[in-house]
Symmetry: C2
């Protein structure tokens, strides 16, 4: 039997134990992992150095090397996240609902772990700690498939986690790294029925798409955000300006940043040149539709591709629309069901937009940048789901749980 199946079996057994481990034991394990990470940080940094050297040698880009790099500060950040996680409520065991049937059966819907999580991710060794600790907190076992360019770092971190878990009642097999090289093993992981309950891919939009299209296991899709801000006829200029500036420029590289600005033609006539100037002063490159260009001839013409692009950069596509209906239509055509904003003082337009736009989060008069587990008050974030099943939008710990029904009777039969 191969590594993958053996690890799958061990994970399944560990998951059974983990499901009923009490909160304080799970928190104790997280505390011990935090201590162990601090104690062994020079070992981890030294192993990480090997990955960095190999990466430099094989010509990895500077941005990938930066993501790969671990230093004292980054390890301290991991430890800080662990401490926040320890303080969060344990979702497992929560009675979500309970009721009694006329025949006297008492039904309780109780929150339980998912079982075994499969995590596939790129060269960010911090995800190893992050994913393992979220799994432990929610009583799930986890199979980690990191990038081979981070193999030394990941092995070191897993060794540290195992050293910590050996001092607890939590089976070390709860957290396992798939070490075998090559894409073939990743592809087999996408079809490991019977051992993995859910796959969570993390990385580029293209990579996540690959996992979604090739996996026959349930996938939690944390997807791309081609987010729009629509400024309606009846918008307050100052509010609209602050929102689009924030949504575009506060952190352009993230999925909840805005990529296209839609402007009602009346608002555009009165305010678009001034608004574009404000954006350009902040180094935003604007690409406009024909109507935009007619008002601002110095802009580049936006193409069909622009409407569908998540720039993740200081670039903004700009389109003038007839009304809220055209804005909704545009968004439902090009959007990625992530976060969409309307700025307006018109209640009817706001209502129509909020109801008809198909997205995880729709905003009335606020920036799309709030689509975030912490900003929503969840205390943790697994990612932002752009799918509609299981979990949608910012995912907290509950996204890593399922439920079971416990039915109590006194001899009821049908």
């Amino acid at each position: 039997m191969d590594e993958l199946v053996i690890k799958g079996q061990k994970a399944k057994i560990a998951a059974q134990d983990l499901a009923i481990i009490p909160t304080e034991k799970k928190n104790e394990a997280l505390r011990l992992i935090a201590n162990e990470l601090m104690d062994k940080r020079s070992f981890i940094i030294q192993e990480n150095e090997k990955d960095l050297n190999n990466g430099r040698f094989s010509g990895l880009s500077q941005s990938i090397l930066d993501r790969l790099m671990l230093n004292e500060k980054r390890i301290e950040e991991m430890v800080k996240s662990l401490q926040i996680l320890i303080d969060l409520d344990d979702p497992i065991g929560e009675i979500i609902e309970s009721w009694e049937r006329p025949n006297g059966l008492r039904i309780k819907k109780v929150r339980v772990p998912l079982g075994v999580i499969g995590m596939i991710y790129e060269a960010r060794p911090n995800v190893t700690v992050d994913a393992a600790s979220l799994a432990i907190k929610t009583g799930n076992a986890i199979l980690l498939r990191g990038s081979s360019s981070a193999i030394h770092s990941n092995k070191a971190i897993i060794q540290v986690i195992h050293d910590a878990l050996r001092k607890t009642v939590i089976p070390p097999f709860s957290v396992q790294l798939i070490e075998e090289k090559g894409h073939e093993i990743t592809d087999r992981m996408l079809r490991l029925h019977g051992y993995i309950d859910v796959l969570i891919p993390r990385g580029s939009a293209k990579f996540i798409q690959y996992v979604v299209e090739n996996s026959s296991l349930p996938v939690i899709e944390t997807g791309a955000g081609n987010c729009h801000v629509y400024i309606d006829q009846d918008a307050n200029y100052e509010m609209a300006k602050q929102i689009i500036i924030n949504a575009k420029t506060q952190r352009p590289s993230v999925c909840n940043a805005a990529e296209t600005l839609l402007v009602h033609r009346d608002f555009a006539r009165n305010h678009l040149p001034e608004l574009i100037t404000s954006l350009e002063e902040l180094n935003v490159e604007c690409r406009g539709c024909t109507q935009t260009i007619s008002m601002l001839p110095h802009l580049t013409q936006a193409t069909e591709e622009d409407w569908a692009t998540e720039y993740l950069d200081l670039i903004l596509a700009v389109k003038v629309v007839e009304n809220v209906d055209e804005a909704i239509e545009h968004i439902n055509r090009y959007g990625t069901k992530h976060s969409e904003v309307i700025v307006t003082n018109n209640r009817n337009d706001a209502k129509k937009f909020m109801e008809s736009v198909d997205a995880a989060v729709v905003y009335h008069n606020a920036s799309s940048r709030f689509t975030d587990g912490f900003e929503f008050g969840f205390g943790a974030e697994i990612g932002i789901s752009t799918q509609k099943l299981h979990a949608r939008g910012p995912m907290g710990l509950k996204a890593l749980t399922s439920y079971k029904y416990m039915v109590l009777g006194n001899g009821q039969i049908r």
Copy 2:
């Protein structure tokens, strides 16, 4: 472009309209469908006759022909289900949660439709009405892929549904039948990204498994039930007897019927022969483990295969176990995560069993036959999910919904 993609596009457009159609309009459509079904019942029965003739000619089994057959009574049953559905609460628009953040943002988690449902099913034309009406009630569009052996019946039913929908604001494209013949189109449906939000296969365990393993779309798996009744040391004999008799014999062909009886060795010593006699008097064939056979030498020896088999028949595998731990281990190894029962007066054993058995529904002192949407009080049943994501156990209307976050601000930025 082919039929499938064209229908997918139309479904997607219909879904956008459907998502915001008010409850009374949806109920009106269901009422009109019910009327139209009654009015055109002789047309439907006449078209069904064509399928039955073709089926007899091509040698379909009697049980398949029976499932395929429509008559006045069966159409009246469809109409009755429609009336029940009309009276159920509309889940769409429900505010699941709402809260306010320190920065003043008000967040509402609102229930919305999934979008487009893909339903793949075998030769039961009643599923066509059932699935279409559940989809309409929950604001979802639906693509139906029925068996080609029911094509005339399904086309007739769809025609009737479309005639009804044309008198309403609901786009007829909300309900579409994929008519093209052959397995190839089904396989393409399993990968129709961008048009289908969720697939629901209905049919044999083998067929559902095929869909799960070959689909790259999210699937709601309504699976097999290899259900167990475990009689603990401290069980009341009469209660245990009634529960296993009910779970095995009340309707042996369904997924929540029991397939294996596990008996604590002390209970077995005192009661097993008498219990087996009671089951045999009801024509149940028992197959025993070695210990069972040593007490009841006339029984057939159960093999490894028996522990894993969902008989769906008056056959029961019987195994004597040391204690509740062995029972749990056996169930977690051979069970299909459906419905599992412990009969005991011992609270600790019950607690351990309920917490450690990994199944959608766990029962203490009640029959597994209660795993059912109506018995749970949901008023409808989409099926019984044996997966852990999105929906688990009996699924009511809510299983066909997702949610979106509506965030109301007054200019908040990060």
